[in-house]
């Protein structure tokens, strides 16, 4: 793969505003119980083993199938029910910005490359606006799921629960 091909300059950007303070919003990304309380994705839970929100610090967790349907789906596809994920905090500005970088090194025939999730936090009155910018397809857990071929199933589950 050429160097250019590694550079994904198309981003998906999703913004949300929550009635909360910066400290709480920040802690959902940077503490074990915070991160585990929402990361999922749907049908999965995250078991965090290491979370060190400093520049270069590691985030290591297992993505574990957590519903009967998902466990069955994984089994049917011959995929393990638990996948180890490792990222690092490549940028950390407390209560303001963080970037999680993952190495995508498990795709057959594709040179390893890095992918980012960049999050910016803005205090606005009694709300916090959170802006998440994603390299499409490049988050490691989603890429893995996509390789395993069950993202459409995930979407269905999401639709059922939302």
């Amino acid at each position: 793969m050429s160097k250019d091909m590694r550079r994904a300059d198309t981003k998906i950007v999703i913004e949300r505003s929550y009635r909360a303070n910066l400290k709480d919003v920040w802690s959902l990304w940077t503490t074990k119980d915070g991160f585990e309380s929402w990361w999922g994705p749907q049908g999965f839970r995250a078991d965090v083993h290491e979370i060190d929100p400093r520049v270069g610090g590691i985030l290591r967790y297992d993505m574990v199938a957590d519903t009967a349907e998902m466990i069955a789906a994984m089994k049917q596809m011959g995929e393990p029910a638990s996948t180890a994920i490792r990222s690092r905090f490549s940028e950390v500005k407390a209560h303001s910005r963080l970037v999680l970088t993952s190495m995508i090194d498990f795709l057959p025939g594709v040179d390893p490359y890095e992918s980012n999730i960049a999050v910016d936090f803005f205090a606005e009155g009694d709300h916090v606006r959170m802006r998440v910018a994603l390299d499409p397809m490049h988050s490691d857990e989603f890429t893995k799921m996509s390789v395993a071929g069950f993202t459409s199933q995930l979407t269905k589950l999401d639709q059922r629960f939302v």
Binding site: D24, L28, W39, G40, P41, G109, P136, M137, L154, T155
Partner: protein, 115 residues
Amino acid sequence: MQIDPFQVLADPTRRRIIAALRGGEQQVGDVVEKAGVRQSGVSRHLRILSESGFVTMRPLGQKRLYALRSEPFREVDAWLTEYRTLWVARLDRFGMALEKRQQKARQSTKRKNQA
């Protein structure tokens, strides 16, 4: 192995070629001019784009005419929609987790004040 459409689109030169083909069928010479890429590069990338199904070629006399196919773009679009859906659900959960956390904090403050 099937060629990943995202890898095809990740290359800026190929994106320029795709943009040049947006107006409809063209010859290599026109693509070279519009995309501002050397002929050898255009030929190589057109081959990759053809192999990955983004572009079709039909001969017309001496000419070879290249055009875009919609299928891989639809595939990419569906993929991005799925990815977005995953994140929308994830950020919904983020909001719920945040609310729970705040409730807990309020309760513990209350308890402290009562004590």
